[in-house]
C-alpha cells in the first residue's frame, strides 16, 4: 500500500507528502531515535510523538516510507521545513500510538 493510500484510508493529516507513491511495507512505533534506527526497517510507517527536526534525519537514514505523528502532535517549524526540503512524507493523527499502530496494521493486512 502506498503512503497516499494509507493516508486516505486513515484520514491522516498530510503535513508533507512529496513522495505519495512510496510503498509502506511495515510499521514501527517508538520515540527513542537510536532505538528506531536499530529496529525499524526500510519502508516502515514510523509512528512517533517526537516532533523535532532530528526525526527527519532519522527518517532519511533509516529509509522509512513515512513519519506518522500520533496523539495529535504537530511538527515544529524546523521539522516541517526539513521534511519538505528533504522529500520526507510527514503525516499526523489525533489517535493514540497504540490505536494508530493497530489501524495501520489492519489496513496493511487487508491489502495482502
Amino acid at each position: 500500500m502506498t503512503v497516499k493510500e494509507l493516508s486516505a484510508a486513515l484520514s491522516l493529516t498530510e503535513f508533507s507528502l512529496p513522495a505519495p507513491e512510496a510503498e509502506v511495507t511495515g510499521g514501527y512505533a517508538g520515540d527513542l531515535l537510536s532505538w528506531v534506527m536499530g529496529r525499524a526497517r526500510a519502508g516502515d510507517c514510523w509512528i512517533t510523538i517526537m516532533s523535532n527536526q532530528n526525526v527527519a534525519a532519522v527518517a532519511v537514514m533509516a529509509d522509512v516510507a513515512c513519519i506518522l505523528l500520533s496523539e495529535g502532535v504537530k511538527p515544529d517549524e524546523a521539522l516541517l521545513t526539513k521534511a519538505r526540503q528533504q522529500g520526507i512524507n510527514l503525516l499526523g493523527s489525533g489517535k493514540g500510538t497504540f490505536e494508530l499502530a493497530h489501524d495501520v496494521g489492519e489496513k496493511m493486512k487487508r491489502q495482502e
Partner: protein
Amino acid sequence: METIKLNYPVEGGDLIGAGEASSKMKMALKKLDLPPETIRRASICMYEGEINMVIHANGGRAEVEIAMDHIIIRMIDTGPGIPDVAQAMEEGFSTAGEIARDLGFGAGMGLPNMRRYSDEMDIQTTVGMGTTVTMKINI
C-alpha cells in the same frame, strides 16, 4: 573502480542540526548507485557516530573511503575518550545529558547500532585525548 575518499567536518554543540555530514555522505553513496541496504547501513553507522561526536566530543571529523567491495567510515574526535569501552558497547548504557535525552537521543543504542550495521568495527580511544571509531561495511 578507484577508491573514493571523502571528508566531512562534524560541528560540535548543535545537536538539533546534527546529521549534515551523514546526509551528505548518503547523497554521495546514492550517486554511486550502491545497493539501497548498503547505503542504509552506512548512513545509520555514520549518523550514530556523528551524534556521539556532537553529544560527547564537541564535534570532530569523518573520513569515508568507498572501494569496489566495501566502505570504510572513520569517525575521529579529540574529545574526552571512552573510559570503559565494554560498558559503552552495552545496549542501554549512556552518559548523554538531559538535553540529548529530551530530543530522543541517549538511549544507549548508538555504539550497538554502529556494531549492528557494520561488518567490522574498531574503537581506539584514550581518555583525555580522543576516540577514533572505524567501521567497515561490505558492499
